[in-house]
Amino acid sequence: MNYDDAMASYDPVMGLEVHVELGTRTKMFCGCSTTLGAEPNSQTCPTCLGLPGSLPVVNAIGVESAIKIGLALNCEIAQWCRFARKNYFYPDMPKNFQTSQYDEPIAFNGYLDVQLEDGEIFRVQIERAHMEEDTGKSSHIGGATGRIHGASHSLLDYNRAGIPLIEIVTKPIEGAGVRAPEVAKAYVAELRELIKALGVSEARMDKGQMRCDVNLSLRPHGREKFGTRSETKNVNSLRSVERAARFEIMRHATVLDDGGTIVQETRHFHEEDGSTTAGRIKDNAEDYRYFPEPDLVPIAPALAWVEELRAALPELPRLRRARLQGEWGLSDQDMQSVLNAGAVQPILETIAAGAPADQARKWWMGELARRANESGTDLSEQPITPGQVARVCALVAEGKLNDKLARQVIEGVLAGQGEPDEVVAARGLAVVSDDSALGAAVDQAIADNPAIADKIRDGKVAAVGALVGAVMKTTRGQADAARVKDLILQKLGAA
C-alpha cells in the first residue's frame, strides 16, 4: 500500500503533546540551578529529592512563562488553579510522584494558526497548557545499548528532576487529510518559533528542551467516531514529527486493511529509519491517583498581571515573517529560502548595523549560506558577525571595495584575519580609481585590442565591456570598473 491508497480509504486524526523545558535559572519548586551539563547529582536539594520535611515553593518566572505561553496560544487563563500530584512508581522521580496540573490547567481553550508550505493557514485548536516538572535522567546498565530490557540495574541523575516544564496539548486535529504529517510538522515548528519569540525557552529539540508525542488514529472517510490511537513518544526533531505521523498512518492503514485491529499502546520512534515499534500497552489500568498538591497553595493570577503580560507579548512569528517579507520585498519562495537557511536573524542584525536589506540578504544567502551548508553548521555559527558583514557592505557603498574584493574581505574575516578593515589593509585590497594609476592599464588595453577600440570609436559603445574586462584582468580585479569604463570612453572620444 502507498500513502495515497491509505489516504483514499482513511481520514487521520492527530493529537500532539509538546513538552517545553523553560529556560528559568532555577527549578520549578526549589532554588536548584538548571544549568545543563553539570556533574551528576550536583544540582539537587531536599525538595527535588523528595526528602521528608522539605517543602516546595513555586518559581514565579515558571508561572509567568506559563501564562505568556497560554496567552500567545490564544488561551483563556485560569483565574484560580492548583497543582496536583501524579502518582507513579518509577525511579525517574525520587518523590514517587510528579507535581503537575490535572483538571485545573493554568491555560485552556486556545488555538495556533500555522502556515503550510503553500501558504495555506491551518488552525490547530489547543486543549490546554499546564505546568509541571521534568524527571531525572536514568541510564540502564548491563543490557544492550542502554535499553531497560536486559539491564541488571539503573543509575539515576536527578539534576533534571524538577526543571519547569509546560505541556501543551492540542484538541484532536481533524480535517488535515493527506496533509496531516505536514500539519504536525508545521505546528511544532510554529510552536517552537513562538516559544523562542516569547523568550521563555531556547526550545532546542536536539537538546531535549522541546519534545513531542504524536497521537494518531485513522477512521474510514465519513465516519465520525475516532479509531483507536497509538501514542508515539519522544519524537525529537521537526522532520521526525512528520515522518512519525506518516509512518503511523501507513502502519494503521495496513493493519486495518488486513482486517486487524489497532492496539492502544505507546510506540517508540526510531530516528535511523523513521519507523516506530510497540512499547507499553495502554490498558485502562493506568491510574495515577491524581489529587491536589497539599504542599502548594493555589495560583490565582491577578487580572492586571495577566493583562500586563498580554500587552507585552511580542509580535507573533507568523505575522512577523509576513511583515519582514514585505519590508524586504521578497517573493514567497525567496522568503522561504531565507527561513530555511535560518537567515532571518543575521539579516535583521546586519540591517540594524547599517546595511541595506538587499545587500544583507545577498551575503547571508550567498557566500555564507553556502559555507554553512558545506560544513553542516548553522548560519549563526559562522565566524563572522552581522556587524562585520555590514562593514563590508559600507566599504562597497563608499566605493572602496567592489564585489570581487568584498568577497575576499569576507573570506579573510572567516579565516580569522581580523576585522574587515584589517583584512583590507593586510591584503592590500582597495579599488583603484585613481586616473593616473588606471591610465596606463587603459592605454595598454586599447593598444592590445585595436579592432574593439575602432568599434567604440565608430559609436558601438556596447563593445566597451571587453576592454573593461581586460583592464580588470591586468589590475587583478582591483580597478573601479565604472571609472575604467568612463576613462576608455573618454580616451576613444565616445564619451
Binding site: 536548584c32 513555586v58 518566572i61 502518582n87 525511579p91 539503573s154 539515576l156 490565582a300
Partner: protein, 98 residues
C-alpha cells in the same frame, strides 16, 4: 460509606509495586477501612455548602523569585541512598517498561 475492599487493596498494592500476601490483603483492608472510616466522619460535619479543600490556609500565589540557592553536594545528595554508582543513585532492575 462502603468499606474498602480486598480488591481495592490489591489494586493499590499493584500501583505501589508492593507484593502482598493473601492474608496481608485482608489485614490491610481491615486497617484501611478503619482509617477511611475515621476520615469519612469529616464529611458528616461538612455540609454541601462547604467545598473540599486542599490546603488549610486561605493563601494563594505564594511564589519565590527565580534565584539560585546552593544545592547539596553530590556526596550529601547520595548519602542517604541505599546504593550509588558513578555518582548516581543505583536502583534495582526496572520492570514493566520498554
Amino acid at each position: 460509606m462502603p468499606g474498602i475492599t480486598r480488591e481495592e487493596v490489591a489494586h493499590l498494592a499493584r500501583l505501589s509495586r508492593l507484593e502482598l500476601q493473601a492474608e496481608e490483603l485482608d489485614h490491610f483492608a481491615e486497617q484501611l477501612d478503619v482509617i477511611i472510616g475515621a476520615v469519612a466522619r469529616v464529611s458528616e460535619v461538612a455540609g454541601l455548602d462547604v467545598p473540599p479543600t486542599s490546603h488549610p490556609l486561605p493563601l494563594t500565589n505564594v511564589m519565590r523569585a527565580d534565584e539560585v540557592r546552593p544545592s547539596l553536594t553530590p556526596e550529601q545528595a547520595l548519602s542517604g541512598a541505599p546504593a550509588a554508582e558513578e555518582q548516581r543513585f543505583r536502583v534495582p532492575q526496572i520492570l514493566g517498561e520498554d
